[in-house]
């Protein structure tokens, strides 16, 4: 298909207009059309094209990664939007090179491999300009700047391209009818597609919602109670905690609370999350009443896919510098964030001694039937039901502190005994989940509302980062007890657990820590501001590649373009008989859609047309006109005046007799 001058620029402008990127499209349009006036071309080899195609592929992959990274699944629209920019280097190179097509070897790895294996000798090539035009149009459809004008403008542009390629042998009216029919069908199809979409979309959404809802409550805590063997813990750093200068660090970071214990698993049955109110800027979130004096701590953490549960100090009343779409809190105080960056470094303002968890309910006093006897006996033995609740709490603490030890080595339970009974009565050793679960159930049996809390213990100070690091192995669980009208943390796990778990750390942990820190700094820098921040860091990675490519291209041998016009040709070689009247016949036949092929001699061409029945007066042409024309063109003496007159007369006569 022939592309008239300016088609590429027009396609770019169309794309830029619909995507609101005219400022990008305009310079690209100038660059792509500039070769029409430049006197030189790059002389590039197949290898150069292959390298460039590879670089374009890398650019496209980076673009895709960048867009998916920035926009998630909806990044596909952004990729569509920027597709012409990714393809632009390739088409620009074709336009600036001495070749009129790009080898398939450059475009397809499979062809390259097939050529290397010898399966294909000459894979040929393709003129990618038309592909680029189509890509621009498709990409324009992804834009919403002028939605209602999209179809008319793309249709007008397409008609323009088709007009310059219309088959000349058919009447213009026929062509116009065919195009009008195609356009009408196009508009009808678009309306139909919209209708179908309106019908299908709600159905699909309903189906998906049903599927997602059927998954149930994702918030439940599986414990290792009842497991056998040594617990393996990870050194991975999950939180970075920076208290205010001179202030005390929060000892525990609370992530979630659970109410019901069954089959060695804590469950939070009431999972309705409610959105917290935010400040005007959308980065500060109010949780509970804020007194005048609050401690504050900065917490850096990763959010997988921009969402997750936050670990915050108990008593947190406000979150600052948290650029997420929404913060939600459930009935047990867990904080969930949605649509945030991958890394956040927020500030939690809290009152250390006054937890803000919602008030207790009946469920906070339930001891599972399987454990009722065990804990009732224990309550009686420890005399927890006697005296005030504050003293009962102290007795529980003392009971665990004096009689129990921390261990990550889980033993096999006795027959016909629960793991908790084994822990409390036999082994007297276990990990934090045993202590926390036992404490919660013991307190509940004593009539004190209690919950099972999970989160992290803050204890490791990093001299490199000058802040506290919280690793996955610092994950901890403890009990929350409702005493004297307020929730209190009750951590009965012996203090030695920290040293025991630290002993499991690997020898290369310091190296890992430095790497982790650098990765965190990079991630933090990337996500420094809001979601709509400038994500140009990826472009900085691409820039050196582009510079190297540009440098290599600039160093290529440039050859002066050979002009195709007759005037320039005459400086190199005299084109005798260029004014032959025969060319008027050729012009007329070409205009009627019967162009002569590049390597086709005039007689071959005319014979072909005559055989296909589209050449009237073929005999006269072959017998009289062509010999005269050839003598004029290829005989050194050319035609004398009489001969030229005879040629012109014969041509005139032919043209008169054959108007089309």
């Amino acid at each position: 298909m022939r592309l008239v001058s300016g088609t590429l620029a027009a396609a770019l402008v169309l794309w830029g207009w619909h995507n609101g990127l005219l400022l990008v499209a305009a310079p690209l349009a100038v660059i792509i059309e500039l070769p029409r006036w430049t006197p030189w071309r790059w002389q590039l080899s197949d290898k150069d094209f292959q390298r460039l195609a590879d670089a374009s592929t890398v650019g496209f992959v980076l673009l895709a990664a960048y867009q998916f990274d920035a926009h998630g699944a909806s990044g596909i629209y952004a990729i569509l939007r920027w597709l012409p920019v990714a393809l632009f280097p390739l088409v620009a190179t074709q336009v600036y090179s001495t070749r009129d097509r790009i080898d398939y070897k450059a475009l397809f790895w499979s062809v390259r491999a097939a050529v290397a294996r010898g399966n294909i000798a000459d894979p040929g090539g393709a003129d990618i300009r038309l592909t680029f035009v189509v890509v621009c149009m498709v990409s324009a459809s992804g834009g919403a700047a002028h939605g209602s004008l999209l179809l008319p403008s793309v249709a007008a542009f397409t008609v323009w391209i088709l007009w310059s390629n219309r088959p000349r042998r058919y009447a213009g009216a026929h062509w116009a009818c065919a195009v009008a029919l195609a356009l009408a069908l196009c508009f009808v199809l678009k309306a139909g597609t919209l209708q179908a979409r309106r019908y299908i979309e709600p159905l699909a959404m309903a189906y998906l919602q049903d599927r997602i809802a059927a998954r149930g409550d994702p918030y439940r805590a599986y414990t290792a109670i009842g497991h056998i063997g040594e617990l393996k813990v990870s050194d991975r750093i999950v939180l970075r905690v920076t208290p205010e200068p001179g202030a005390e660090k929060p000892r525990l970071l609370h992530q979630a609370s659970y109410q019901s214990f069954a089959r060695n698993m804590w469950v939070s049955r009431r999972t309705r999350f409610e959105e917290l109110p935010s400040s005007a800027v959308g980065t500060a979130w109010h949780i509970a009443e804020e007194p005048a004096h609050m401690a504050s701590v900065s917490i850096g953490t990763y959010l997988r896919n921009g969402k997750g549960l936050l670990a915050v100090p108990g008593g947190t009343r406000r979150l600052d510098n948290l650029p997420v779409d929404g913060v939600y809190r459930n009935a047990l105080g867990a904080l969930k964030v949605l649509e945030g960056p991958e890394v956040v470094n927020f500030r939690a303002r809290y009152t250390p001694l006054e937890l803000t968890d919602p008030a207790p309910e009946a469920g906070d006093l339930i001891v599972p039937k399987a454990h009722e006897k065990l804990f009732t006996e224990l309550v009686a033995r420890l005399q927890l039901d006697v005296g005030d609740k504050g003293r009962a709490l102290e007795r529980v603490r003392r009971f665990f502190a004096r009689n129990f030890a921390y261990s990550l080595d889980l033993q096999a339970p006795r027959a016909q005994a629960t793991p908790l009974a084994d822990f409390l009565l036999e082994w007297r050793r276990g990990h934090c989940e045993y202590f926390a679960t036992s404490t919660v159930l013991l307190l509940r049996a004593a009539g004190i509302p209690a919950r099972y809390a999970t989160g992290y213990s803050v204890q490791e100070y990093s001299e490199i980062e000058k802040r506290y690091l919280v690793r996955r192995r610092h994950a901890h669980s403890w009990a929350l007890a409702w005493v004297n009208g307020a929730w209190r943390d009750v951590d009965t796990t012996p203090a030695g657990w920290v040293a025991l778990e630290s002993a499991q750390s690997a020898w290369w942990q310091p190296v890992y820590d430095v790497g982790s820190w650098l990765a965190f700094l990079f991630a933090e820098w990337r996500w420094e501001e809001t979601e709509e921040q400038d994500r140009s860091w990826m472009l900085w990675l691409v820039l050196p590649l582009l510079l190297i490519l540009g440098w290599r291209m600039a160093r290529r041998e440039r050859v002066r373009r050979e002009r195709q016009s007759a005037g320039a040709e005459s400086t190199r070689m005299v084109r005798q008989g260029a004014d032959s009247a025969f060319f008027a016949i050729e012009q007329r036949l070409s205009a009627a859609g019967h162009e002569r092929r590049s390597g086709e001699c005039a007689s071959t061409w005319l014979r072909r047309l005559a055989q296909s029945g589209v050449l009237p007066g073929a005999a006269a042409l072959m017998r009289e006109i062509l010999p005269l024309h050839y003598r004029y063109r290829f005989h050194p003496a050319g035609l004398d005046a009489d001969g030229r007159r005879a040629l012109e007369a014969a041509v005139r006569e032919w043209l008169r007799q054959n108007p089309v």
Partner: protein
């Protein structure tokens, strides 16, 4: 000084061509295109390699040409034990005279039929190199010129490989044209049976031209005009073969010369005074294809030299 008017020259040359063509046509039924090519090479001063399966009339065509011209004719059957001296000649010591006497080989003739040339060793094949390229033989330090009419028609069978030696590239380049005869139409083949039922028509073939006629024919060919634009077209075609994928060695400038000379001959045969693009395109395939050295990978992929020439002819813009 005035230049002689070429009109009578062309006229008599065209007449000579027509006589020879018709004479050969008595023997070679349905092979008018092959005869045209053979005579184009002959008139242009080039040599011809006929490549075809056995029995298609290669040797008959060569003999018919030789008999049509009142000129010397020699035939060499190439065999693996053929030696260069069997072609070029040998110096023997004459004991009576006490001198070396040179005994000319069959190469000292006007028309030489080198039958099944690929059966001889490359060394023997190469003995023809100087003779074909320069029209002379250098032996024992003595340069012996060949007759100006010296014309080689070599034949080879393309399907047999056992006991054959493919012609070296340098030798191939010495042949102006390579073409095949192919099978004739059934009706023509019936005619051949009729012709040979009593005796071979070759036996009754008489010379219709002599040495001078051929010299004039060659002069006339040289006088045929060719426009600069067409010369450029010829060179563009040759250059394009060197840049085509799958071609290890493209055509040489000798190929450009051969295309031009043969196109001039065709123009003369058509009664013209100048070459047209059609003449160039008609002769390009037989002149160029056998000179191309194809990449083995391309060959195995089904691409041959003929397809390269066709592609080049399709792609290089032809002047009109």
């Amino acid at each position: 000084m005035s230049t002689p008017d070429p009109e009578p020259l062309w006229s008599s040359a065209a007449d000579t061509y027509a006589r020879i063509r018709d004479n050969i046509g008595k023997v070679m039924r349905g092979q008018s295109q092959a005869v045209r090519k053979l005579l184009a090479a002959f008139a242009a001063g080039g040599h011809v390699l006929l490549e075809d399966v056995p029995g298609t009339g290669k040797t008959t065509l060569a003999k018919a040409l030789a008999r049509s011209i009142d000129a010397d004719f020699q035939r060499i059957q190439f065999t693996p034990d053929l030696l260069p001296a069997d072609i070029l000649g040998v110096s023997l010591f004459n004991q009576r005279e006490q001198v070396f006497e040179f005994h000319q080989g069959p190469v000292f003739t006007n028309i030489l039929l080198a039958d099944e040339i690929n059966r001889a060793s490359p060394r023997t094949q190469s003995a023809l190199l100087e003779a074909m390229g320069e029209g002379q033989v250098s032996l024992d330090g003595v340069r012996r010129p060949l007759d100006s009419l010296f014309f080689v028609i070599a034949t080879q069978n393309p399907i047999e490989f056992q006991g054959t030696y493919p012609l070296p590239e340098a030798q191939m380049d010495r042949f102006a044209l390579r073409f095949s005869l192919g099978y004739v139409a059934a009706s023509e083949e019936v005619q051949i049976l009729d012709d040979q039922s009593a005796r071979h028509p070759l036996d009754g073939l008489e010379a219709v031209s002599d040495h001078d006629d051929i010299e004039r024919l060659r002069d006339a060919v040289r006088a045929i005009a060719i426009a600069d634009e067409l010369k450029r077209y010829v060179v563009d075609l040759i250059v394009a073969t060197r840049e085509t994928d799958g071609v290890l060695i493209g055509a040489s400038p000798r190929a450009s010369l051969a295309v031009m000379k043969c196109a001039q001959a065709l123009a003369l045969f058509d009664g013209g005074e100048f070459v047209t693009p059609e003449h160039v395109q008609e002769i390009a395939g037989p002149v160029i294809a056998h000179r191309l050295v194809m990449d083995p990978q391309a060959r195995y992929s089904g691409h041959d030299a003929e397809s390269v020439v066709s592609k080049v002819l399709d792609q290089v813009p032809v002047p009109t």
